[in-house]
Symmetry: C2
Subunit: 432 residues, 2 copies
Amino acid sequence: MLNETHAPDLKCWLASAAPGGDFPIQNLPFGVFRPAGGSQPMRGGIAIGDMILDLAAASALGLFDGLAAEGAALAARPELNDFMAAGRDRWSALRLAVSRLLRVGAPQAEAVRACLRPQAQAEYGLPCRIGDYTDFFTSYDHMINSGRVFRPDAPPLPNFKWMPIGYHGRASSVEVSGARLRRPSGQLPPGEGGRPEFGPSRRMDYEMELGVFVGPGNARGTAIALDAAPEHLFGVCLLNDWSARDIQAWEALPLGPFLAKNFLTTISPWIVTFEALAPFRSALPRTADDPEALPYLRPADGALAGYDIELEVALATRAGGGAAQRLSRSSYRHAYWGPAQLLAHHTRNGCNLRPGDLLGSGTQSGPGPAEQGCLLELSRGGREPVRLSNGERRAFLEDGDTVVMRGWCERPGFARIGFGECRGTLLAAGDA
Amino acid sequence: MLNETHAPDLKCWLASAAPGGDFPIQNLPFGVFRPAGGSQPMRGGIAIGDMILDLAAASALGLFDGLAAEGAALAARPELNDFMAAGRDRWSALRLAVSRLLRVGAPQAEAVRACLRPQAQAEYGLPCRIGDYTDFFTSYDHMINSGRVFRPDAPPLPNFKWMPIGYHGRASSVEVSGARLRRPSGQLPPGEGGRPEFGPSRRMDYEMELGVFVGPGNARGTAIALDAAPEHLFGVCLLNDWSARDIQAWEALPLGPFLAKNFLTTISPWIVTFEALAPFRSALPRTADDPEALPYLRPADGALAGYDIELEVALATRAGGGAAQRLSRSSYRHAYWGPAQLLAHHTRNGCNLRPGDLLGSGTQSGPGPAEQGCLLELSRGGREPVRLSNGERRAFLEDGDTVVMRGWCERPGFARIGFGECRGTLLAAGDA
């Protein structure tokens, strides 16, 4: 799984790609952007340091050949779907070629430098056309904590350790980091009289998740076996599944969340590839009491089916003057089900996944005291507001709050890689 | 709302469009097809009698002008999304122009006749690219009957009469009538030991629904008001929401149905426009005990917010030699919530709908004894198998069963119009 692109001593000739940042030469995440100047079309690129390698420009200079050239032509498009469909050989060939072009001593360094665009001036687009967005429920601690909000002795869900529970979300309202969000209105749970109220949600929340992008996918009526899943796992982004807890409480029985979540989902602009994440694979958390998974969900003995990805949510409040104060911090290594299991389960009944489909990990919470991935858990359903470092308190989000998600991977002997950020500000309710 | 295209005495010069069939001159539904000969590209058309008007051919002959010509150019494409986005003026102008071209005495009749292709030789495609598919739960009787399967004294859901309960379905697996379906496999509810079984579903069911196609849609952060909904309602098809009840029972708590339904949804090839349905509007069923709807869901006094559309499901079994035997029969007039309310609710929180999005009505059951829209209800959860007219019994679907849905509208003083059929055969389980 590891190759020369993962070597920790690789150095890039671009100073801002120095070790310790989100985008060193070992990362090379894909995204779609418009360079400075609003009239230019969107195109695909790769983040390096504080710059973006414009793949269309690099292709035009003839910097790639073979499979890498084929990959670059597809990854340069304004939607990465065709690149995602092209499969692991082309993903990997392009990664290797870009890694070599960016290394200290690369003879083409000056030509490549002419293809770099500053991130600070870029406008990002959705990385691909998302045909379907599925959200899962993979954090055991999130399940336990959320259940206890409503009932202190809530038992675990009986199906949780047998399957990655999932549901379909809204594809039309997945947008890239920075999208505006007005506080949504809707039906709020009834009080004594049984009549629901109507108005802006009073229990707005974030959910700290990862998003997984599907590669080639499968035809309807076929399944992706667990051991074939790596061929279909393109990469990972940060994902904020904004949620209105009061709307959710009233609408979600019996068919699940709907208007409580479909008003917006934001994702980070950069997709970190599973190849870049290879050094950070981890064992799934299992205890002796856990049931043995059914065969279609059972990884080979010793397989590292999880990923150790640190996640953090910070809040920048109006009163706090924009300084971000950490709220949630956990790791994806706590997830009970890993990405390959999501694919295997989703397709086991013959459901077809298409290139660019998005799978949310569900809120990531860990077992520790500050490891809850949303305010519902942190504030115990609003009963125990969280104290921010500037003295403010939050049971749920307030107008003007900016939620900033970050993620990164660190492991001794490997270069740190990061996801950038996924950011959004809650505005006051409008007419809609 | 009514205009010259609805006049019951209009007659078409095509003999097969005689009154009494599904596709008289008063109907004029839209679809996408490939004429006889597999190599020709898909294109848009309008059903008339047993033929299809090829809109690309008719446009090329210069048979339309003005808004109708603009509409025809869009409706001739292999996906109707741009026509759906073009709005009611163009939908209506094209309908009127086609109605006039097809009337007895139309001077262009011979030119139009050259643009007709036989339905019997056509291959149908999905009428549009479906960005998101949402399914609703609008039949009160379906809610009561389904609840009683699990608990004889099950109370009504407290939110049912306050909102059209909805959830997101799978867009990738919506296919046109005739799609093949292998019996899906999955996790089946655990017995005594608490360990789920794995295997082909034993409780396969159909759901008799209508599908509503969205027209122009709305930007994220805005809502479609109830009285603006007609501008956004393009048309209606038949929809079979195939369901695996055992998979559903085990997976659906707490996030709703997922693998129990996302393996396939079939729709009829023809979209009957809301303009064609105008004579069949009906009052929503309400009793004095029902709560007054919240303002955003409250139609004007006397508004006819429902539609009287007869629905029927027949089963053709292997043993029955292909003869269809009626199982379910009901009408959409029993739905508690009408199409405009689905749009108003769906967007009230700012969720954006896109042209070509599909909204399912949910299973349509009525209050009468044989008016249940799925086998789960008809067989009371499998406990009381239904006896078919040839003596066979069905608790759930068996391999080789062909489900045939039909729909039509009849009202004294108006021409009968029909939906054609939505058909699918359940095959034995395969590997996926």
